[in-house]
Symmetry: D2
Subunit: 246 residues, 4 copies
């Protein structure tokens, strides 16, 4: 399960101390987790990170940013909650070109995406990467295409899963509108396997309305990418996004 | 769920007509499924296939052989139940070098292994290969390393899963002896996710005693490889294997 | 270097005895090698193979067919020269789901494609697969995208390389028209590295005119796929293709 | 071709201005390039980087360090020449979990390894990653197993290639002793394809004597890993290594 936190001042220390806090159903939207995936976009990661940190502080909404591994250090220094886009399944050792979980944690990451549709992993490697993340004290979100794969991902024990139909990624058409059944199907599939695994909603999310729809379908967070990272004004895009949660 | 069948005459037609038959708990061992994986061994696939067909006929035990894709045609002509070692997730189309499910079925395969530890697949591709196998009317066994991955594999809806700790493959030390908890853990993990998914036991199985141990731990079949394929006398090895089931 | 042969009666035996024969520049087009890649198309491989065998016999042009591995046996029985679409780099051993070079040779394959753009391989695996093909006495064609990669492929010592710009595959626009420089660039790149490596031309080839253009640019053969495999009348498509060579 | 530089004060600026300088044969050993690959070792990257920067300054030998991507920023801040262990073939865009060449350059990397035996790449991706590195103004070293693959790698136009027989990596037995023919074979193979491509020698290098042997066989640099990264005293290990060059 992902950690949540309420409106109010935010710092990396305070988030950590709030692990294990969870919010009652009535205030579910307040706990929506917003993860901005910067992919390999030609954006300024520091600009987006600073905006995300400010919006998180102002709104009380949990907002994190997942930059390139080489930018984790600089992004974390802005004070924003920072995630890796991927970690490798290996432990310390002879693994040239790997993304060591301990290294991204050391640079400031607090969590990691795994198995994004642009970076599909072997089943055994998702399991290995989850173990690596746990060793490095990183939270985890495993992405998957459809409810069956969401069930499979949930069986591996991540903190959360994210359903992202590949055909909707980057389209601007939110999955919550284009295919609400896939979101509720994912929520059901995860719940059947492990009731402690949160479900996030990815693909096409860009507005506050999309966020509310996702919440109404049972998601406890969203993955965004181009809607913020490629926006002319990332801060305004994030403010618009979290506005309905206030 | 894998199909089973009782002692008696066997032909490819009769097996097919027996789909959906299942045996009561009391005779569970009679329904143990024995799949001999020929991998890329330098054995004569026709010799092993003929022996397997004869032992299946004589004992009433379901025995199948999984040869190289290029040998499926010749192996199926011996009358033995024939499986593929892998099928690709793709449909018909522009997929050079793929192993099309429809092609292996056309050549005589009745089922396919997936995600063997020597051929680990992406989670999304296991899902895709299961869909491909279903289109081609192939039974499916998804291999995995440990109970967590077995749960994940079961969530994708195969007929069966097979637990094979990589460190025991090819050792001659049966998983049922070296690590019985991993077998019962796999049986439990699969049952929690989908009670219709059979659990097979692989890695190190070579004797009738190993088969009985696997059955006692809740497995409904076994994967074998070197114990038969590299035996001086594959027929004798198979006879020894199924002897306790009679 | 690929083997060639002239107009006249053809049998698998005669082709083999003609290895090492090569045709003088003046009759270069007679030696154009035509390889029909059936990919995972929903075609009848026996129909295409029979047509290819007949057209090869009638025209004296070397025509081969590359079916799915599971169809090699049945395709080779038509008498057509049969190729694999891929072989794995491994030797005999514990390699479940591999495509063992010895197995495809055993089923009747006389050569193999490697590194097709739909099945890109690691550099080390192309090297390993070439060694595997050599052990199994298979001829080899390594595909690549552009002249630099063609030079790299040639450095590994295959019989031939094939240049196939990915953006033209399946378009019906022949690379010899759309981008003749890439073909002459490939011919130059291969010649600089190893003058014994033939260059074939793939991507968009479908007519006799395309074949002549490819030959004029320095190619000694062509890869085709949909133009024959998806034709309403594969025999007529092949007859049209080789007509200018007679 | 890799840049070299002579004994004397060193700064990241001065190295860059010295691109294109090359040393005459008589002083070849002065230009040996020493790249310390930190892999995923549990070492302190800053400690090794600081030692490497000091040894480079004191000896005038070009010494660089290749840390985890997430540590590039902190390592580069020590003033040592910093390399990536890998970059992905993609450009800016939707590539979650990639290692964008521009991002590692932005963090301070001046070059990148590619195709290390622990991170084998597809031929097409080596080509793509070289293009990505060029866009980001990174120097490149492509690793390979044997002379044939070295020739293939050289055909793709990197600055340098490195021959590392996988069976010697991490053994402490230098390739220059265990198999000197593979080094001279690699030097010949690269020269035949492209005389501008430097050849480095990896696998088992740990002492100054190994460095001299590599130089005598025609290598213009070495890759090291455990010999420095896992040494009790990395600074002493590096001093020992470069001692014969002074």
């Amino acid at each position: 399960m992902l950690t949540g936190y309420s409106r109010g001042a935010r710092s990396r220390e305070s988030v950590r101390s709030e692990h294990a806090i969870y919010f009652p159903e009535a205030h579910a939207r307040c706990t929506m987790f917003v993860l901005v995936n910067l992919k390999a976009y030609p954006c300024d990661p520091i600009e987006v990170a600073t905006a995300a940190a400010d919006v998180a502080d102002d709104s009380g909404v949990r907002v994190a940013v997942a930059p390139q591994a080489a930018h984790i250090d600089a992004v974390a220094e802005t004070g924003v909650e920072t995630w890796a886009q991927h970690v490798s399944p290996n432990e310390h050792g002879s693994h040239t070109g790997s993304t060591l979980a301990e290294a991204v944690a050391d640079a400031g990451a607090e969590g990691t995406l795994l198995n994004h549709s642009e970076n599909r992993l072997k089943l055994a490697d998702i399991d290995g990467s989850l173990a690596a993340a746990e060793r490095a004290d990183l939270e985890t979100i495993v992405c998957a295409n459809n409810p069956a794969q969401i069930g499979a991902a949930a069986a591996l024990g991540p903190d959360a899963v994210a359903v992202e139909p590949p055909e909707l990624i980057g389209t601007g058409t939110p999955v919550s509108k284009a295919d609400p059944d896939i979101v509720t199907g994912a929520v059901d599939a995860a719940a059947r396997v492990d009731g402690d695994v949160d479900v996030l909603c990815g693909a096409g999310i860009s507005t506050g309305e999309d966020l509310v729809s996702a919440s109404d379908l049972g998601a406890t967070g969203v993955l965004l990418a181009s809607g913020v990272a490629k926006a002319d004004d990332p801060r305004a895009a994030l403010e618009d996004l979290v506005e309905p949660l206030n």
